[in-house]
Symmetry: C2
């Protein structure tokens, strides 16, 4: 009989390490309910300013709930994580952090934006720019096989800090189990984010989450996979998109140029500051690889959904 477990809220860890004691032991088919801290472990609050970004204790970033030991999971198995429920808890923040982000060379000063999520299903950058929420957890992973501890920021074949916006409710994430019991952990709630997470933060928020675990032995995978239950962007795509292209022999530079053109476009058409535009790109603009085969120039395109611009 499948059970529902409640992860103790005071149990978090800040690194991947397969020697950590499990916070819970569950059976395949069980559900775990989490109340997850935002990614700075409450160092940022709705009253914070950009000055607080410079005072962050980076050893306390990525407080993860777990690890959860799933009985029967063995290396080579697949841990299926069914995302049952996600809800951001009232507020979020996004920031420009010097030394990080796709355009770290262009944006060198700290900048903080606090999002009011009290409407529940959307937030506004300005009254005329309304962004639907589409929550997911930026970090979901199993413990790596190698001896840790490992920092949480880089994702890996074990999953981890994947920051992949389509890991929303109803999606089934598949992770390759590395150690007995899988030792699954989760955190880094995002209320919304575009493909790319270009400024290095989504809408970083405390998050309620409920996940169901299944151990699967019918397949083997080398890196994470997932299946979504339906269309990806129905909250965003009603009015189409404006897209900017970067054409370049290096994919990353193509991405940078596409985002630079999108920032110019948003500054020009919406009279946003460049910092606001960069953050809007991170939370609402999608990066697609349009082509990566027409030697020697590749194209990355940045797509902004026009539905976020309120018709007056």
């Amino acid at each position: 009989m499948a059970r529902t477990h409640y992860l103790p809220e005071d149990v978090v860890h800040y690194a991947w390490d397969h020697t950590l004691p499990p916070a819970l032991e569950v059976d395949s088919g069980d559900v775990v309910v989490y109340q997850l801290r935002e990614v700075t472990d409450n160092q940022i609050s709705p009253r914070s300013t950009a000055v607080d970004l410079g005072r962050l204790d980076w050893n306390r970033l990525y407080p993860l709930g777990g690890p959860v030991f799933v009985r029967g999971a063995r290396p080579g198995d697949v841990l299926e994580v069914e995302i049952l429920d996600l809800h951001p808890l009232g507020w979020a923040w996004s920031a420009i952090l010097p030394g990080f982000g796709l355009l770290e060379a262009d944006f060198t000063e700290p900048y903080l934006h606090i999002w009011d999520l009290s409407p529940g299903d959307h937030t506004v950058l300005r009254p005329d720019i309304r962004i639907p929420l589409d929550p997911f957890c930026g970090t979901m992973g199993v413990a790596p096989a190698e001896k840790g501890p490992f920092p949480v920021m880089p994702p890996g074949k074990f999953g981890g800090n994947m920051d992949t916006r389509h890991l929303t409710c109803g999606t089934r994430l598949l992770l390759p189990v590395q150690v007995d019991g899988a030792l699954f952990s989760v955190g880094d709630g995002h209320a919304a984010q575009g493909d790319g997470e270009v400024c290095v933060t989504g809408m970083e928020c405390p998050m309620h989450a409920a996940l169901r675990f299944h151990v699967r032995r019918d397949r083997s995978i080398a890196e994470p996979q997932f299946t979504t239950p339906g269309p990806l962007t129905t909250k965003y795509d009603r009015r189409g998109y404006h897209a900017t292209m970067g054409v370049h022999p290096d994919l990353m530079e193509a991405a940078r140029n596409a985002v630079r053109h999108m920032i110019d476009h948003l500054v020009h058409t919406c009279r946003l500051s460049r910092e606001q535009a960069y953050i809007l790109c991170s939370v609402a603009v999608d990066l697609k690889i349009s082509e990566c085969v027409d030697k020697p120039n590749w194209i990355v395109s940045a797509y902004v959904p026009l539905a976020i611009f309120v018709e007056r």
Copy 2:
């Protein structure tokens, strides 16, 4: 009074060159109707086999219709190309071409697939794999400012061989004019293609096209941009997606691994040959940059729409 022009079918050119004489002169607001040859200039036909791929005269690739001289267009202006109508003309081909494609190291033998487009709105790889058509022109560009001729394969800031799947009907493409009259050309019809065009061909087809041109001076752009009239993938996304991830410090290698995992998935779940699976990736799988900021590992994800797998 805006006019409709018909581009002579026998006028094509095979390189970008601003010294080419215009095939037509039109006014801003005019429409041009094209009947475009497929990308090999009729060297591949519905009766071709893989052997014919080795005999291609590469100097005859990319027959482009044009150039069209748009009166009043000057360097620094924007040429808006409104895509009014597109229709593939009955058949298409996709191929693995040795020395090209994202996985050129993995696929070294020529392979040709001919698509029957007679149903009009879809085609099948097998009776149980049905792919909706979503046509666009792979190549649309203005003549470069620099003295040519330049080969057509690499796209540039002038547009050209952008192979961008969302340049479908109703989309308005914006191109930065480089020379007086813009000298716009078009070709390389694709009946369908995924973001990435990973095997280097989409569904390559002869195409009927109608485009309206406007000269715009209200903005200046450095590289192409476009605006779509509505959601991007409504023909594909009804039943959700299965996605495979590549996690890697190099974006291109992340893309390669994501596609390798998708090929394994398609071979395993659909019992396709590896060549069929690679071609299916090129015509129906989308590459998204999930994150490009979590140093030092980036994630590219490959998404296959589940709607193409016919429910039995």
